[in-house]
């Protein structure tokens, strides 16, 4: 997947992964894709809920060796 930008939020505890994600997302144009890497276990639920409430689309998520990766498409 072609990500426009990658955010490394590994090792950061809640709320920082979302704070960073939101900041980065503000700088993207609609349709562009943000990739987020995080290790906080709550990040999956929270990113899903956040994307849903803001109109962005969580395209994909995966977990590998304790690292959660998310691809979020910026909404209109």
């Amino acid at each position: 997947m072609n990500s426009t930008k990658v955010i490394d939020a590994k090792g950061l505890a809640c709320p920082m992964p979302i704070v960073r994600t939101k900041k980065a997302m503000d700088e993207l144009a609609p349709g562009e894709i943000l990739e987020v890497h995080a290790t906080d276990k709550g990040s999956k639920n929270d990113l899903t809920a956040w994307a849903g409430s803001t109109g962005h689309e969580l395209l994909k998520s995966e977990e590998e060796a304790g690292v959660f990766k998310f691809w979020i498409k910026k909404g209109e």
Binding site: A13, C14, P15, M16, I18, V19, K22, K41, G42, N45, D46, A49, W50, S53
Partner: protein
């Protein structure tokens, strides 16, 4: 300035029915699933990610005269939001240390009963609705349905100058991890549970010990179970006064029969218990259950969850002059399919067939209790 509150502080406030306003900043589904409740606790839910750019939008939703507590899953986000609220000019802003994880693990100890023969304490796990007990007599203590926070029971026994000599589990728990095995290892106490529940480690089977006696305590085991049936739960009748009813009988009604997937068979056993052994018990027997669903409704004026058997019987149609078939039909019709979170893994751990790290145990237990849910709005 913001302050920190511990789960113990919140427990004390809930117990004393003090006013508290909670801003829960977890996401909506978590909040809907379970939250801090109490008679004087009011809460609203605004996810922290809606407050990243500022808290001005929520200020008018927060009452000025109440103590405010910000709550999240672990702590970080609540602190983040609390700081912003304080900067916006709110006074008396606190956050919950350790978040809902800590709340899930806090036990509140309450004296239930005391006479010349014994003293009985209830331990309320407010964040989960689980109850455990300690019966103290003549320097010995018996623990019923201990949670995995074994230090709490060790401290309580020490405070009473007693040694934990007996531990019983009323059934194989599906909603929380039992501390029975660990507590037995730490104290050398005898640990009893039903053999039919399938635990693979060594313990004393209740099938062979239907009476436990120590000091001035005489405990009789009432089995709801008949051989060959899968799910089972026993009750403990102590000194003809106290009925520790496990998952059989709650303040709000009868237990849920569905976890083993054999509701009808379980309901028949339940009928035999309710209309057999329990029917013969006096109205003033105090019922002390293994769970509650709604604290406000089930806690009594003494501050513990429990009620006289006569009162429960009078309020419960199912316990009054039913024939077996109609009883079974009604219980089966009321059975719910909703199960406690992670119940299969929790059961496997309680049977001793699986092991889990402390962190995993914590994760597995997070969330609502669903063992006692169904009977509250009958």
């Amino acid at each position: 300035m913001i302050t920190m509150m511990t789960a113990k502080d919140v427990g004390t406030m809930v117990k004393h029915k003090e006013e508290l306003f909670i801003l829960d900043v977890r996401n909506q589904t978590d909040y809907q699933d379970w939250r801090i409740e109490g008679e004087q606790v009011e809460s609203i839910n605004i996810p922290y990610f809606d407050l990243i750019d500022g808290v001005d939008g929520v200020l008018d939703q927060i009452p000025a005269h109440k103590k405010l507590l910000v709550v999240c899953a672990k702590e970080g986000s609540s602190k983040f939001v609390a700081e912003q609220l304080a900067e916006a000019g709110l006074e008396q802003v606190a956050y919950l240390q350790g978040g809902m994880k800590s709340w899930s693990e806090h036990l509140e100890q309450v004296l239930v009963f005391a006479d010349e023969r014994m003293k009985v304490y209830q331990f309320l796990r407010l964040g989960k609705g689980c109850l455990s007990y300690m019966v103290v007599s003549g320097g010995e203590a018996l623990v019923i349905d201990p949670s995995r926070f074994t230090d709490v029971y060790l401290d309580a026994a020490k405070h009473e100058g007693a040694k934990i000599s007996h531990i019983v589990d009323s059934h194989l728990h599906a909603d929380h991890i039992s501390g029975g095995k660990q507590l037995a290892q730490m104290t050398g106490a005898d640990y009893y549970m039903m053999k039919s529940e399938g635990a693979v480690f060594s313990f004393k089977p209740l099938e062979e010990h239907d009476r436990i006696r120590f000091a001035q305590v005489d405990l009789r085991v009432l089995a709801v179970k008949t051989p060959g049936h899968t799910p089972g739960s026993v009750s403990f009748f102590v000194n003809d006064k106290l009925l520790f009813s496990g998952d059989t009988l709650f303040v709000g009604g009868l237990g849920r029969p569905d976890l083993g997937g054999k509701a009808a068979e379980w309901a028949q056993d339940l009928y035999d218990t309710v209309y057999g052994k329990m029917a013969a018990m006096a109205d003033d027997v105090i019922v002390l259950p293994g769970h509650y669903a709604e604290l406000d409704r089930e806690v009594n004026e003494s501050g513990y969850v429990g009620a006289q058997l006569g009162v429960i019987r009078a309020a419960n149609e199912l316990m009054k002059q039913q024939d077996k078939k109609s009883f079974v039909d009604q219980v089966v019709a009321q059975a719910k399919t909703e199960t406690p979170p992670n119940f299969e893994e929790i059961i496997a751990i309680n049977r001793g067939v699986e092991e889990a790290t402390a962190e995993r145990q914590q994760e597995l237990e997070i969330g609502p209790n669903r063992c006692a849910l169904h009977h509250t709005h009958e």
